[in-house]
């Protein structure tokens, strides 16, 4: 990881060890390499192989409206406050292949906010960002997302938002007209905008406490006075040094508010 950082500037040094070990072993099997030292040697010589390794080191596992209660809480408790701002900036940190971005864009459109909202969707994995930009998801998965959407308080028919063709569903590109997809690392980069809402779900669990603190520091710095932070349903700030710097807003849904 040290070598990858020096050569490619991707910093995995403060990721949790247990899941990183599983991913490296999985990568060895998939790439047909006998040992970690063989992998290290090849990766440092071959940037294309590093690109493939990156797909295994990051976890592109997501779904639309994952944990519907989170999106319902955003709709009911956060959106009314976002409405009080003349314009809104939302940061989806670690957006992976875009499922969360499209979910938020749909929600914001239904709540009449999308047209004055700028969404920043960031990730370290360029292949995931490219998929996110395209907004094309497997039709099988989309059928499952429909139930999530309804439980999240969806106001329309989910099929209004995509066109199905062959085995894929292409989401309405106008949803992402004001989304900026950008390469950003919570491990090495800094804050780039003042935001009213940061949504970063199931990303911090892959970080050790030091890196969690760094990421939470970025979110704190980015958020405006009393801005909102949304985490994954089993994530919390309780074991970080930021536990006093956010108030729990909707505790079971893991929505926090920047403390004064």
């Amino acid at each position: 990881m040290e070598a990858i950082y020096l050569k490619y500037s991707y910093d995995f040094r403060n990721y949790t060890v247990a899941s990183q070990k599983r991913r490296v072993l999985h990568a060895l099997a998939q790439l047909g390499l006998p040992s970690i030292s063989a992998l290290q040697e090849k990766v440092l010589r071959d940037p294309a192989l590093f690109g493939r390794l990156l797909q295994y080191l990051t976890i592109p596992v997501s779904e639309m409206f994952r944990d519907p209660a989170y999106f319902l809480a955003l709709r009911q408790h956060v959106v009314p406050i976002l409405h009080t701002y003349p314009s809104v900036k939302v940061w989806v940190a670690g957006c992976s292949t875009g499922e969360e971005v499209f979910s938020l864009a749909i929600l914001l459109r239904e709540e009449g906010l999308l047209s004055r909202t700028q969404i920043y969707a960031t990730d370290i994995n360029p292949a995931s960002l490219e998929k996110a930009r395209q907004g094309i998801f497997p039709i099988e998965a989309v059928r499952g997302y429909t139930a999530n959407y309804q439980r999240a308080g969806g106001r329309s028919s989910f099929s209004d938002y995509y066109t199905a063709a062959y085995e894929a569903a292409r989401f309405d590109p106008s949803l992402c007209a004001d989304v900026i997809f950008a390469d950003h690392s919570l491990a090495t980069d800094s804050v780039f905008a003042e935001t009213q809402l940061v949504s970063c779900r199931n990303v911090l669990i892959y970080f050790n406490r030091e890196l969690q603190d760094r990421a939470l520091g970025l979110f704190h710095e980015s958020l405006c006075h009393r801005g909102f932070l949304g985490l994954g349903s089993k994530e919390s700030i309780d074991f970080s040094s930021y536990s006093q710097r956010f108030d729990a807003h909707s505790k079971p849904e893991r929505i926090y508010r920047k403390a004064t």
Binding site: V17, A18, S19, R22, I205, R209, K234, S236, D238
Partner: protein
């Protein structure tokens, strides 16, 4: 079949990991019910439960056991004498600093949380100071995890398949490695108490 824990001098168990699937709630009650209130080992449990449902395991067991029972949270430190359940929909690992971490990696043996994932990470974190037990269940999750515990020098125990409500899971573990103990629940419980007596209070 051995009935006593290995009494290697200086060997001390510092944590117990348990895996169970179908029939597991009942088996866990039998195994854990009435453990002494001064119980000092952390016990970490993966019981297969459906994803996308809130789990009430921590509350259910909290009512029945005289021990503090929690749903394990990301980066929570393992405390002595506490019992932890993996949350549904997430893999649970133990890091080397003896804190939990969660992950959304794909299911292993169709299960998330996976027993293999917990046990392999715990074997890395605790080495020989770990005991793993695998109970009733209908799939093969946990077999590889127990083998990893044994390879790291820890103690492995499997519920006697003849007694298990569903024997597939214990059988799979026995097929993959030679567990230190293959015992009915009543005796697994005696083993648990014995392991604790080697653990300094």
């Amino acid at each position: 079949m051995k009935l006593t824990a290995p009494q290697t001098p200086g060997r001390r168990v510092e944590a117990v990991v348990l895996g169970a699937s179908a029939g597991g709630i009942e088996a866990l009650f039998t195994l854990l019910n009435g453990l002494p209130a001064l119980w000092s080992l952390p016990v970490v449990i993966v019981l297969h439960v459906p994803e996308n449902h809130e789990s009430h395991l921590a509350e259910i067991f909290s009512d029945r056991l005289h021990l503090p029972v929690h749903e394990a949270a990301d980066k929570m430190p393992l405390a002595s004498g506490h019992v932890y359940f993996a949350p549904p929909g997430y893999h649970l690992s133990i890091e080397r600093d003896r804190r939990f971490s969660l992950s959304c990696e794909p299911p292993v043996h169709f299960s998330r949380p996976s027993i293999d994932v917990l046990m392999a990470s715990a074997a890395d974190a605790y080495g020989p100071a770990l005991a793993g037990m695998l109970l009733t269940g209908a799939n093969e999750d946990g077999a590889e995890g127990l083998r990893r515990i044994q390879q790291a020098g820890g103690i492995t125990a499997v519920q006697d398949p003849n007694e298990a409500q569903i024997s597939v899971m214990p059988q799979a573990a026995i097929a993959l490695h030679s567990p230190d103990h293959v015992l009915p629940l009543r005796e697994l419980r005696a083993l648990l108490l014995q392991l604790e007596s080697t653990h300094a209070h």
